[in-house]
């Protein structure tokens, strides 16, 4: 008898899988960067191909012929690239047989919706576990319904996880610290620069210095 999981159960299973894999590879949120991810891919036997694609494609997973590989959009900055690579890991762990049987096909977005959402859930938990996030939120004293954009900036700077402002905003939404779509229009990067100054690598003198070195 086949037992079907509800969406919620499926997503929870993905979180558990992410936790298992983090433990298996002794992952430390603060040390999870592209180098660690590349090592992990190597251990899993997955080839990474940096590919020039449009901005819309972040990554593609293929595994026919027993040769798993991932196309990664080479224009992606570090944080979204890391997330996309974690996303594709879920396909590697869970979706190989469906892919090889032809049950999943490229471009069949409606049929793949749950699979793709589950990959996002896996990636989010893999990169920054919910419990770690909640601990950090508590430590910073964030209160439900009373979070300011400045506090989100501090959260990003203190959490130590390689995640974007969009990631944190969505997590805060999910745990109902903020309302849905709240702060959508806030330019967090700009706000961070106003509070903490422009990072050294973006300051004109540093750019000029680098240019001269080339």
């Amino acid at each position: 008898m086949t037992t079907y999981l509800s969406r919620t159960e499926y997503y929870e299973a993905m979180k558990r899988l992410a936790a298992e894999k983090r433990e298996q590879y002794s992952l430390n949120t603060e040390k999870l960067g592209l180098q660690r991810m590349r090592e992990l891919y190597k251990s899993e036997g997955i080839t990474i191909d940096l590919w020039k694609t449009s901005q819309k494609i972040r990554a593609v997973y293929m595994c026919d012929g027993g040769d798993p590989s991932v196309l990664v959009n080479r224009g992606l900055p570090e944080i979204p690239r890391l997330f996309a690579m974690a996303h594709e890991l879920k396909h590697h762990y869970c979706d190989q047989s469906a892919l090889n049987n032809g049950k999943i096909q490229c471009g069949d977005y409606n049929a793949n919706e749950v699979i793709e959402k589950a990959a996002e859930v896996f990636a989010a938990e893999f990169i920054y576990p919910e419990q770690d996030f909640l601990n950090c939120v508590q430590l910073l004293g964030l209160e439900r319904g009373n979070v300011s954009p400045e506090q989100i900036v501090e959260l990003k700077r203190n959490c130590g996880a390689p995640v974007s402002y969009t990631f944190l905003r969505k997590r805060l939404e999910w745990f109902e610290f903020i309302e849905k779509a709240q702060f959508m229009k806030v330019q967090f990067q700009k706000l961070e620069e106003q509070i903490h100054g422009v990072p050294i690598y973006r300051q004109p003198w540093f750019k000029a210095h680098r240019k001269n070195r080339k």
């Binding site: 191909d49 590919w51 694609t53 449009s54 901005q55 819309k56 494609i57 972040r58 990554a59 593609v60 997973y61 293929m62 595994c63 026919d64 012929g65 040769d67 590989s69 196309l71 996309a84 996303h87 594709e88 396909h91 979706d95 892919l99 090889n100 032809g102 999943i104 096909q105 490229c106 471009g107 977005y109 793949n112 699979i115 793709e116 990959a119």
Partner: protein, 117 residues
């Protein structure tokens, strides 16, 4: 199994000599690729073995699929892939995914050829 590199060499020569109806010299092709005419010549005679990345670049330059270098590689129109994308893909995006699928097959063929030797 015929020598895969011999076939590749013949294809490069054919594509080069028929490029835009009048052909392109080895010198000009070499400068497009930042290599030497000697390398192009040796690819064509299968003295040197181009890498799969070089073949991909050649295929893009000549606007052909990489599969032309691999007559035995079966490239199926159905692609089994899972994508992480930020929106609906257009024809160009899907073409790029197809190119990648063909690139993978080409790489597998080259690995197979190396193992046989």
């Amino acid at each position: 199994m015929p020598d895969i590199y011999k076939h590749i060499g013949e294809q490069i020569r054919e594509l080069r000599t028929s490029f835009k109806g009048k052909g392109i010299s080895q010198d000009d092709l070499a400068s497009e690729f930042g290599t030497t005419a000697n390398t192009i010549s040796r690819w064509e005679t299968a003295t040197y073995k181009p890498s799969v990345m070089e073949l991909e670049k050649l295929a893009r330059f000549f606007a052909v699929p990489i599969a032309v270098f691999f007559p035995q590689a079966q490239i199926t129109p159905q692609i089994n892939a899972l994508l992480s994308a930020t929106g609906d893909l257009d024809d160009d995006d899907l073409e790029e995914v197809t190119r990648y699928a063909q690139f993978r097959k080409a790489r597998a063929e080259m690995k197979k050829a190396k193992r046989k030797k």
